[in-house]
Symmetry: C2
Subunit: 449 residues, 2 copies
């Protein structure tokens, strides 16, 4: 199977017993329309009815605290955002080839959250389109083709971006010739005192390997939070040497903020935690709180160079409806100080989880910044001779994820070993809701042990 | 310049004189945020305020009949669609990994408009993503890489799809090795009695050329209306031999219905006019009437083969908000019989334009199906020795497009010579509105002659 661990883990097997007739009928309708691409979450899938704030409700009235979906950053069915969509859809929804105040207000407000020299933006509809456009820009600007990614990276679903996403590679096919993978920095499983230096060194090796094979490298493409490599929140600053190395060799740096961006890690952009500024930053998922939006924030000289060679137009990217929606999301993030809440509530959640870890040796590590927290599970039983307490346990994670769903908590997993539970709730999460999660996790662990 | 003719033609030059201070200020704000990608329509760009039905209104209260935008197929700011977006955004907007009635209702209702064997759909957010996914599917299913396109094709903006769009190729760069271009079928400029047979023969030559170069072909990718090749509405059935030839050699056929689909040509899907069914059909622009939506409708056996090798997931594709929006668009199309209106009002418009052509020798041809009508302009003055009345005149089209805007009509141009005005209004266009356009075009022509 070439699916990402996260999808594998929660993949629904339609033969699972115990489905009621109505749910089974809907599963069959779905399979007829979507075919084998009809993947559902959970062994017993959720028939969803509505969602509000950090909570989803199913058609039986059961409520679930949603720590899974990283799209509704300002809360499910956010009323301020819904009002903006409502109003705009009754007035105008057209493309960016006309002048329209809302679009320009939005672009300026968004760009104001970025440091120099990131002063231009091109809007797209998805994070995949954003990463694809970023690849087009770096290739046009460097004349190179080679892209360096991390071992277990995921950057999206277009042809070019899927080539940069090992989990989307075709089974058995050789890796794309223009891609080199480097191990993601790692703290839990490694005694390396300086993961930043190691990461930087590996990037240099990849560049040398490109050159030895007669391929000109173009860019380092990196999720600054290593989301699908199991999450790595720090140490702060460890990305800077990697960026420097890439640039020393003429590469550009694309910072993929599709997952960590928009305040999730307790700062507006995760790269700010490392004091290392990419040449291009790609945006997606939470940008429209469910409305399809993405974008590439870029150094003006690079966009200028690209635009001289290639004409890029995106029919829906930054249209009036997207502009009004994106603006409302920013207003909510700033007006309700949700980035600060992510930092504060995230720190509280991490503290509570660290306490829980003391009672449960199967929790090997608790890490994260803001409301993007990973809990890594390890085996405590079958101790091998070389056992050091860090043998990954994916099985317990599968059990916990499905049991937590029964207990009213939705959560996913991540990492090369599919053994890291990752919490990424709406940024409006309260301490009471964090307590609810920790309580249910404790209950599930007690049942498991 | 490598921009498409359509963008070149209406590209705004910021140095254009006569802009008022407020508009100029907005242009400068826009340039600061969007950089050189800040392309606007018209020499004096429109500062848009609102839009309704087939009409757009600027901030000075001027109204424009919109024959340009092919996205708002059921009318700008359509109230039924706006209500659906409003309601849904207050209830739920999450991805397709949960069961949700609205999504399944929409998928079934949409698939019911397709003939066998097109029984599965995968949702995306844009036509570009749809064509990109279609390329991934045909490559996985055939093991081939080669794609055959038409001379002046445009299929979208991702890396892989831009490679299939000559107008998006980098200036001076060699054509992509895995692409072969064939001339689009042509009736106005050619005495060919059987353009379908010629098209088919050219496809066979391209396949042979692939093989001679050791490249396995995968698919014929074709806009069934040849939208960026200058429009070709018929003769009905002329696509069938091309499809047969492609399949005889093991290629699959991707029918790009991003522009002609959803009833524009007077039938729900343009390929139905030719009684030739593609193996994959790609959807986009009008699908959500401005909400970013796209999709690939596909033979189940192909999707099955693809899914066994590759895991495809699209975060926003077919989410609850998209489902509710798409469903409302279909309800409007069907409930108000807009496809039949496109056929009827389109025929009326074509008749009126043909009458105008009799008085204006610069109109070389009027063609089209439904509300997708092309008016091809030719030179009447500088008759060369080999002059046959078909010398393209792009200059008059540029003048007409800008003058029509001043007269309250928005329209664009197309074709390899940028000399074809194309009308593609909302499908709710009335005969009175068609008369308005023809009257203003007559006035502009009288002024020009």
């Amino acid at each position: 199977m070439s699916t990402t661990p996260i999808l594998n883990l929660n993949r629904f097997d339609a033969s699972a017993p115990g489905l009621d007739a109505a749910t089974l009928r809907m599963v069959r309708r779905r399979e007829a329309a979507f075919g084998p691409n009809s993947v559902l979450f959970y062994k017993k899938p959720i028939v969803v009815a509505s969602a509000s704030g950090a909570w989803m409700t199913d058609t039986d009235g059961n409520r679930y605290l949603d720590l899974y979906n990283n799209v509704p950053c300002v809360g499910h069915s956010n009323q301020h955002v819904a009002n903006a969509i409502c109003n705009q859809s009754r007035i105008l929804s057209t493309n960016t080839r006309y002048l329209y105040e809302t679009i320009h207000d939005y672009a300026e407000k968004l760009l104001a959250t970025f440091p120099n020299p990131l002063r231009n933006i091109t809007f797209t509809c998805t994070g995949s389109e954003a990463n694809d456009l970023a690849l087009q820009i770096v290739r046009a600007c460097t004349g190179g083709e080679g892209i360096i990614i991390t071992e277990n990276a995921y950057h999206g679903n277009t042809t070019a971006v899927a080539a940069c996403s090992p989990s989307a590679w075709r089974t058995g096919a050789p890796p794309p010739a223009n891609i080199r993978r480097v191990p993601a920095p790692e703290r839990f499983r490694s005694a390396d005192p300086d993961p930043g230096a190691t990461f930087s060194k590996n990037i240099e090796l990849a560049i040398n390997d490109f050159r030895a094979n007669g391929l000109k490298p173009a860019a380092l493409l990196v999720d600054t939070y290593f989301t699908s490599d199991g999450l790595l929140d720090g140490p702060a600053g460890f990305l800077a040497p990697a960026f420097e190395t890439a640039r020393k060799h003429g590469l550009l740096v694309i910072g993929d903020e599709v997952q960590p961006g928009f305040g999730r890690t307790g700062v507006m952009w995760n790269f700010l935690r490392h004091n290392a500024i990419p040449d291009l930053v790609t945006l997606g998922k939470p940008m429209g709180n469910g409305f399809p939006m993405g974008g590439v924030v870029v150094r003006p000289d690079l966009l200028d160079r690209f635009t001289r060679e290639i004409s890029y137009f995106n029919t829906f990217g930054g249209n009036a409806l997207a502009g009004a929606t994106g603006l409302a999301v920013l207003e909510e993030l700033q007006g309700r100080q949700l980035v600060a809440n992510a930092a504060k509530t995230g720190a509280y959640l991490k503290k509570r989880l660290a306490e829980l870890a003391k009672q449960h040796p199967c929790i090997g590590d608790v890490r994260g910044a803001g409301l993007f927290v990973g809990v890594e599970f390890v085996k405590t039983q079958d101790k091998l001779p070389q056992w050091d307490g860090r043998q990954p346990d994916a099985a317990i994670v599968t059990r916990l994820v499905n049991r937590l769903k029964e207990l009213g908590v939705l959560i996913g997993a991540s990492g090369p070993f599919a053994n890291v539970i990752r919490a990424r709730p709406p940024l409006c999460l309260t301490e009471t809701e964090a307590d609810f999660f920790v309580g249910k996790l404790a209950q599930a662990l007690d049942e498991t042990n």
